[in-house]
């Protein structure tokens, strides 16, 4: 395996339970270790509340661990997030620029991609209208089209592989799969075995904030489903 670009060593992340001084903290991540190599496509599985989303936000650098260590090479790491920073009264175009800037693009880069965003989102004349006039589907299309313009070294995906109505799901799903298969390093959180098998080359299983198993897709999925709690849960 090549040199890891992100390494987590016994990482723990705690949250405040309530907004009070001295309120108890709970550990969303207790003890997670992993090594992510360039080009790796890692799936993360575990039950609800196992700490999967917390893990992604730690990888993204949004959360700073309260214990353990994160070692990161000089790579950009970005959570695939839709509609970041959107403002109701602004046009689709202005929101695309605003959101692109928030996701780390330069003004010039995003301006150059506006045509592509307009085309992919299929918004037509609505692109110049305030997004408060959009339907839910249109908002998702714009959000996805903008999010896809960001090309981080490590792409972090939380569940969502495709958005919108049936047609757009097809289109957004295939655009994302194309990106993933194009060699981007990916960390993908999912409940769906089929999606994990389709996208990932290795899987991390976490439970109660601890890493249980890290290895080949079939091995880890097999062990996960063989574990007693899974039978109970389903």
């Amino acid at each position: 395996m090549s040199e890891p670009i992100i390494t987590l060593e016994n990482v723990g992340v705690a949250f405040n339970a309530r907004l009070r001084a001295g309120s108890p903290r709970f550990w969303a991540l207790e003890d997670v270790s992993l090594r992510l190599a360039r080009g790796q496509r890692l799936g993360v599985i575990g039950r609800n509340g196992a700490g999967k989303s917390t893990l992604l936000r730690t990888l993204a650098g949004i959360l700073v661990p309260d214990r353990g260590r994160v070692v990161r090479a000089a790579v950009s790491c970005q959570l695939l997030s839709l509609s970041v920073g959107f403002m109701h009264h602004l046009s689709g175009r202005d929101n695309a620029i605003l959101s692109g800037l928030m996701l780390g693009l330069r003004r010039r880069e995003i301006e150059n991609r506006l045509a592509a965003i307009l085309e992919f989102s299929e918004l037509g004349d609505f692109f110049e209208q305030p997004i408060s006039s959009y339907s839910t589907g249109m908002l998702l299309r714009l959000g996805f089209s903008v999010a896809m313009q960001v090309e981080p070294d490590v792409l972090l995906i939380d569940e969502v592989l495709a958005v919108g109505d049936a047609d757009f799901q097809q289109k957004s799903g295939s655009a994302l799969r194309q990106r993933i298969q194009g060699g981007t390093t990916v960390v993908f959180v999912s409940h769906g075995d089929a999606q994990i098998r389709q996208v990932c080359d290795s899987v991390l299983w976490i439970e109660h904030g601890r890493s249980v198993m890290l290895g080949a897709v079939d091995t880890v999925l097999g062990a996960y489903h063989a574990a007693p709690h899974v039978a109970k849960a389903q």
């Binding site: 949250f15 907004l19 949004i62 700073v64 000089a74 970041v84 920073g85 605003l98 800037l101 305030p130």
Partner: protein, 261 residues
Amino acid sequence: MTGPATARMRLHYVELVLFSTYAELRAERSRSYLGLLWWIIEPAMNMGVYYLVFAVILGSAQVDYVPFLLVGLTLWQWFKSCVSHGGYAIWVQLGLVRQVRLPAQLFPTVQILADSVKFVFILGLLVAILWASGYPPNLTYIALPVVLFIELIFAAGAAYVLAALVPFVPDLRFIIEQVLQVMMFLSGIVFALDRVPEPLRRWFALNPIAVLVDAGRGILMYARWPDWSALATVALISLALFAAGSWLIARLTPRYVKLPL
């Protein structure tokens, strides 16, 4: 992190702050029927209320009371809106802070810039009114940018300190408005502070707003140069507050993400 990468990031943040400021102003404009006109009407109405109470009803004995009030309120309202909008900015944007990795200081900065753009319009109008009512432009106008810049630093510093703390103690919101109200009266905005007893004056001279407003009135109304030593003290206080606020936000940023929803 390497030098060029950091410089690139800084430029990126500058672009983000400028576009967000534009977006903020633009969104605000489209939220009402009269849009941009409110930038002028709202402060004008506010001034009207104070004029009614202090000049008409209480009959202020102050000479030049109307320009005195206009200059004071213009400078005050800029400070006040920076502090109240900037002070809530991180708290309001906690959702965004959880989603993307950005320096939290950007959020109050955007509010302060948006309020400053509006202030420029109101200042232009104020100066026009002063000229029309017999307070002509004069050489001391050169000192005005210095006074305004110090006020900007002070307002930003106060806004940063509050912005850093409000996410942890949202209850501060109930206090901020009251404190601002008291501060307005202690700063000689609507009535002069010449009746303040001598021993207290030394302390009042440390209030940046009182000093800045006094300097502003001197320049715009009487062609009087500011008291440079008082201004220097106030500049130091403002810089210290600015540094403290920036430090606090940077220091607390990792904890905003971990606050309960």
